[in-house]
C-alpha cells in the first residue's frame, strides 16, 4: 500500500475507520482449526488474519541441530501471495526472516524448553490477509496454538501495536495508518507480570511517548488476554 502525502488520518478525534485513538479493531479468535496440527488458531484484527499451527514437541532432525538439554523453537512467519494489494513473491523475504525471529523470541520466555531435550516445537504462521499489525496478530495466534497443543506455558502471550498518527498516539494500526504513521511500536507481553517479550519501534517518538504507549498497550492487552482465554474455553465447550 502506498504512502499518501499529507493524508489526514484522524479528524475530530476519530480515525478513518471511525475508531477512537485507543480503540482496537474488531477482534476474532478461534482455536483448533487445523485437524492435522497439534495445536492451531486463527486470529483476526479487522482485515488482518493470521493462522498459526504448532507441531511438536517432536524429535529434531538432522541430529546436529538438536540441543542436548532443551527443545528449540522453529518459527516461520509467511505472507500468502494474495494477502496484500500487490502480489507477494513466494519465498522468504528479509522482512519475513526477521519477523520469524522476533515472533519466536516473543514466545520463548513462556515455554519450559528444558522439559523437552533434543526436540523442536515448530510454530508456523501464515498471514492470509494483511491490513497492518501482522506480526502482533501472528503472536496472538501462535500463543493460542501453543496452548491448544497442550504445551505448558507460564502465561499466554498477548500482542498489539501502538503508534502515532497526525501527532496523536494510537493503538492497533491498520494498513493505511501503518504506512503513513509517524511511528509504530509492535509489542508482545505476558499479561500477568507485564513482562515484555517483543518490542520494536520505528518512526519518531520522545521517550515519554514510548512509555505512555506501552502503558496504553498494557491496558488494551487485558481485553485481548480475555479474548484469548474465551477462545480457548470455546474450543472445549462446543
Amino acid at each position: 500500500m502506498a504512502k499518501i502525502k499529507g493524508i489526514e488520518l484522524i479528524k475530530d478525534g476519530k480515525r478513518l475507520d471511525g475508531r477512537k485513538p485507543f480503540e482496537t479493531r474488531e477482534v476474532e479468535m478461534k482455536v483448533g482449526i487445523i485437524p492435522n496440527a497439534n495445536g492451531s488458531a486463527m486470529v483476526r484484527f479487522g482485515k488482518t488474519t493470521a493462522i498459526a499451527a504448532v507441531y511438536g514437541p517432536r524429535l529434531l532432525l538432522p541430529k546436529h541441530l538438536q540441543e542436548m538439554d532443551k527443545a528449540i523453537i522453529q518459527c516461520r512467519y509467511n505472507m500468502a501471495p494474495f494477502s496484500t494489494d500487490e502480489r507477494i513473491k513466494p519465498g522468504t523475504s528479509r522482512r519475513e526472516l526477521e519477523i520469524s525471529k522476533v515472533v519466536r523470541l516473543a514466545l520463548e520466555p513462556v515455554l519450559f524448553l528444558e522439559n523437552y531435550p533434543k526436540t523442536t516445537i515448530d510454530v508456523y504462521v501464515e498471514i492470509i490477509q494483511a491490513d497492518g499489525s501482522t506480526r502482533v496478530t501472528s503472536v496472538n495466534a501462535a500463543s493460542l496454538a501453543l496452548a491448544d497443543a497442550g504445551i505448558p506455558m507460564k502465561d499466554l502471550v498477548v500482542a498489539l501495536s501502538g503508534g502515532k498518527i497526525n501527532g496523536q498516539l494510537i493503538l492497533d494500526l491498520n494498513g493505511i495508518e501503518d504506512n503513513n504513521s509517524e511511528a509504530d511500536v509492535p509489542m508482545a507481553f505476558m499479561p500477568n507480570k507485564k513482562h515484555i517479550t517483543l518490542l520494536q519501534m520505528d518512526g519518531e517518538l520522545k521517550h515519554e511517548e514510548i512509555s505512555k504507549l506501552i502503558n496504553e498497550m498494557f491496558k488494551a492487552g487485558e481485553i485481548i488476554y480475555k479474548k484469548q482465554i474465551e477462545a480457548l474455553k470455546n474450543r472445549y465447550s462446543e
Binding site: 526472516l97 526477521e98 525471529k101 523470541l105 507480570k193 513482562h195 515484555i196 518490542l199 512509555s211 502503558n215
Partner: protein, 252 residues
Amino acid sequence: MRANYILKLLEKDERLDGRKLDQFRPIAVEKGVIERAEGSARVKIGKTDIIAGVKMEIETPFPDTPNEGTLKTNIEFAPIAHPDFSPGPPSEDATEIARVVDRGIRESNSIDLEKLCLVEGEKVWGVFIDLHVINHDGNLIDASSLASVAALMNTKIPKYEDNKIIRTEFVGKLPVLHTPINVVVSKILDKYIVDADKEEEEVVDAWLSVATREDGYVCAMQKGGSKALSLKDIDYMIDLSSKKSKELRKHL
C-alpha cells in the same frame, strides 16, 4: 565456566576486561578507507572490526515514492571474521542486524532522499550500504550503525551524464541531515551493560537496541534475547542508550 565467571563478576559490577558497566571499549572511526567506494568507513570497537562501504547506483524508484532515492543496507558475516561464520546465504541474525541498522537510518530521515531524484518515477540514485564484518567480538549492531553513518557522511555523489555514471567526477556530497546512533543496552541478571563483547553476549538475557537522533528523538528500537523486559527496564535502557549515543556521535 567462563560464563559463570562473567556472572560472578557482574554481581560486583565488574567485567572481564575491567570496564565499568556503562563503558565502551576503545572506539576508532576511520573514514574514506575504500577508494573505489563513493563513501566508506572502518569502525573498531575493541576487537570488533567492521568496514562499511557505500556505493551509488542508478535505480528505478519505488512506485509509492517516485521522487525519492532508495536506500538498502546489507551485512555480510564474512567467514574470515569468526569460526562460527560460514559461507552461504545471510543468516537470521545477519538479516536482523541489517534491518535494525537500516531502520535507524531510514526512520530518522538521515538522508535527504528527495535530493537523489534524477527523473521522477524513472531514475533515482540508490544508496547501497554494505557492511563487511572483518572480526567479530560482539556488539555488531553499534559498530555497524556507527560505520554506516560515518560512511554516509563521507559519501560523494558521482557525475551522471548520457546515461552513464562517471565515477571519477563528483557533483557534491550526499545530503546527510541527521546522525542516528544505535546503542544496544544488554540486561544480564539485574545489571545493564553497554557494548557487550562476544563472550558477554553469550550470557545476555535480553537486549534493547535504541537509535537516537541528535535532537533526542528515538527513531528505532528492537528488543532481542530470550528473556522478557519490564517497562522499568525499558525506560532505564532508553535513557542509558540516549546518553551513550552522545558519546558515540563525537567519533563521527
